[in-house]
């Protein structure tokens, strides 16, 4: 049969107030059945100083909780300082999750993992990244099951985005600031008000997207609960759970039970649905449909 | 929409029988298709769609299905025009200006001198195929080579005057000479 599916907790993508951020990780360390945790500011370098002075303690606590910890790097570095910061964490010897090709360059062949922000759409590109030192790769969230099947065969390196609002785009511009008529440089960290992202509706009032600073996400919450068996059979080795404000320990437990076969997809879906999710569950991307498509049993 | 023919013309044509117009239009279209064999290939799967070309200042509509070698064209009164996949509507001189490259279709749409309805993908395919066809008056009229130069120049001058007279949108095409 297939190997045991592991669980990876992705980095918190939002600007959570520091106490909330610390409490979240402490609880994950103590209670969540996840195998590894990726931590670090991925979206906006302006937020980074807030976690810099507590991150060491949090990493320590997570490791004591038996989690493998990876430092996730910025997804869209552009300034000299942003690249220098990435170089610094590499130098410091952390295990790195690369989210941009500049980070892969700086790693210079050292073993690392790749996050969902690097474009790896096919078996050739995946093989190239494995040659460059990647040991595990989280695929972009828009990839359909069909592509995942082709890519996961025989490498024990593929991770799939399995829970959370799907990250869709990055920009030089901050939309949370723009919405509040502010420029990015003087944003007053307005994004802190949107712990699951700022909901964006169409002119007809239909919920559509969510804004997380410079990042745009889907309004829905992507889930792989209906496809866990298929993913395992395809050779996928890990599922990524992306933090939302809902009870992530419970989310992790649901996926763990599902991967272990001790609960059914239907029960798992129901268990997720009663949590305070920011949007409806969707598996459109996995099914090769629009990513906004509501999940069906 | 700018560039309308005067209502007196529209009213007058309203009483004309459509059959002669259809015969002429078919002739022009088959001239164009014969001169540009790659046209249908470029349309690809959209060659099977029916397009309503709607000169909004005239009382009739052209229904065109450009499939393969036997392109189908009908001229019908606007009130009975139906069963099409996509409609492209603009004053007659504007539509003609799109075919001969005087106007950029995008620009016309942005300035709302052109309206589209229905299958957007089919409209885009048609527009791109027309763009590539580089049709000129002599080709559409099926004239011999010796007449092409003078006829094209003459028609162009005529249309420049006509568009000016009708207050049609400013010309932006390769033929406009705006930046020559």
């Amino acid at each position: 049969m297939t190997a045991r599916l592991s669980l990876t907790l992705g980095p918190v993508l939002y600007n959570w107030p520091k106490p909330r951020w610390v409490d979240f990780y402490n609880r994950i360390a103590d209670e969540a059945p996840v195998d590894r945790v990726c931590i670090g500011e991925v979206v906006c370098s302006k937020r980074k100083p807030f976690i810099d002075d507590v991150i060491l303690d949090v990493v320590d606590r997570l490791e004591r909780g038996g989690k493998e910890v990876f430092y996730a790097t910025l997804a869209l570095p552009t300034t000299k300082r942003e690249v220098r910061d990435i170089g610094d964490v590499i130098q410091a010897g952390y295990m790195i999750e690369a989210n941009d090709i500049a980070t892969v360059h700086l790693l210079n062949g050292r073993a690392h993992v790749v996050g969902p922000f690097i474009n790896i759409y096919n078996e050739d590109t995946l093989a190239l990244h494995l040659k460059l030192g990647a040991t595990r790769v989280c695929l972009p969230p828009e990839l359909p099951l069909e592509s995942i099947r082709t890519m996961a065969k025989g490498n024990e390196a593929v991770e799939v985005f399995a829970f959370g609002r799907p990250p869709l785009a990055l920009s030089a511009r901050c939309y949370a600031a723009r919405q509040a008529n502010m420029a990015k440089d003087s944003c007053q960290f307005i994004c802190e008000a949107h712990s699951d992202g700022m909901d964006v509706c169409t002119l007809d009032g239909v919920p559509f997207l969510a804004v997380n600073g410079i990042q745009t996400q889907g309004y829905v919450v992507s889930t792989a609960v209906n496809h866990v068996t298929a993913l395992a059979e395809a050779g996928v080795v890990s599922l990524r759970l992306s933090p939302q404000t809902c009870d992530m320990v419970r989310v992790a437990q649901v996926y763990r039970d599902l991967a272990d076969g001790s609960t059914t997809p239907k029960e798992a879906g129901e268990a997720l649905a009663v949590l305070h999710l920011p949007g409806p569950l969707s598996d459109g991307f996995l099914r090769g449909l629009p990513g906004c498509t509501a999940e069906v049993d | 929409m700018r560039g309308h023919l005067p209502p007196i013309f529209t009213n007058a044509t309203g009483f004309l029988p459509l059959l002669p117009l259809e015969v002429i239009a078919r002739r022009l279209l088959s001239n164009a298709m014969a001169a540009r064999p790659s046209f249908a290939a470029r349309l690809g799967e959209y060659a099977g769609r029916t397009f309503a070309i709607d000169p909004v200042d005239c009382p009739f509509v052209f229904l065109i299905k450009p499939e393969g070698g036997r392109t189908d064209l009908k001229v019908v009164r606007r009130s009975v025009a139906q069963g099409y996949d996509a409609r492209i509507a603009a004053p007659l001189v504007v539509l003609i200006g799109m075919i001969d490259g005087t106007y950029d279709g995008d620009a016309l749409f942005f300035s709302r001198d052109l309206m589209i309805e229905g299958d957007t993908e089919a409209v885009l395919a048609l527009r791109n195929a027309i763009e590539n066809a580089e049709l000129d008056p002599s080709t559409v009229l099926g004239l011999p080579k010796s007449l092409q130069g003078p006829v094209n120049r003459g028609t162009r001058m005529l249309f420049v005057q006509l568009r000016r007279l009708l207050d049609a949108p400013e010309e932006t095409g390769p033929n406009s000479g705006a930046f020559a």
């Binding site: 869209l76 096919n122 990055l170 440089d185 090769g288 | 589209i116 957007t120 885009l124």
Partner: protein
Amino acid sequence: MTTPLELVCPAGTPAGLKTAVDAGAHSVYCGYRDETNARNFPGLNFDRAEMKEAVTYAHDHGTKILIALNTFMRAGSTDLWKRGVDDAVAAGADALILADVGLVEYARKAHPKQRLHLSVQAAAATPEAIAFYRDRFGIARVVLPRVLTVEEIARLTAHAAPCETEVFVFGGLCVMAEGRCMLSSYATGKSPNMTGVCSPPSHVSYREESDALVACVGGFTVERFERGEPAGYPTLCKGRFEAQGAVSHLFEDPVSLNAVELLPRLAEIGVTAFKIEGRQRGRAYISTVVRAFRKAIDAMAAGDKVDFDELRALTEGQRETTGAYKKAWR
């Protein structure tokens, strides 16, 4: 200035290519009629025979042809992209414009001498990212993302050498980092990265609604043009949305990029090539814009004054922006 500036122009059809060449393009970029290129629109692009003719026509007039294969290979179907690379090389392309690093690796191995450019879709926005492609695969030129400021472009250009840089100066503007945007995929299931279409026309619909023109993408209403208001193609990131109770063009106003006033500065900092967006645009657009920019570049090379008014007139009546090139945009 040591190397002459290069004007890189779009062509969506063979006729468009002739128009661009005749209007004075130094280079023309185009792609095959399938999902290997990022402008995979109906009725657009070149079949194999047309591409060969295009190369001949361009070379006869001293113009270079850059063939774009700038989408990401679909898992299990990578042959389609590799065949595209092989055919483009055989057709005599002066350079290939690639985005997928897996395809870059293939092209470099299969055709060691072929000149390769890195597409904007690869979003190489740092000296380190450029170094990755330059040092490992011999990328000769990188098309820079539109998310950068002029100062950042200057720094990148200095670090990229001997790799050249190319920047967009006119046309459509991506608000998101190129090649890293899945908005269309989310709303329609067609992915810019995989299918080569953004806000695909197959999923665009217009309807008239009490004097207004309503535009939808994938069933989501993204814009409402009142009577007399100029309309635009409903690109998802340039739509009007509601957030926090307020309706606005949340991501970007329906503007297009016009960086004409920055041309001298961009030339001064060592940018090699200026790129005009718009393979989906008609011959009318191409001839006008290419002619005007060529005139400006020639004037700059000769040390003459550039007629900025003429270039500004290109977008007159429409709204334009210098985009991220000026930091206040952010």
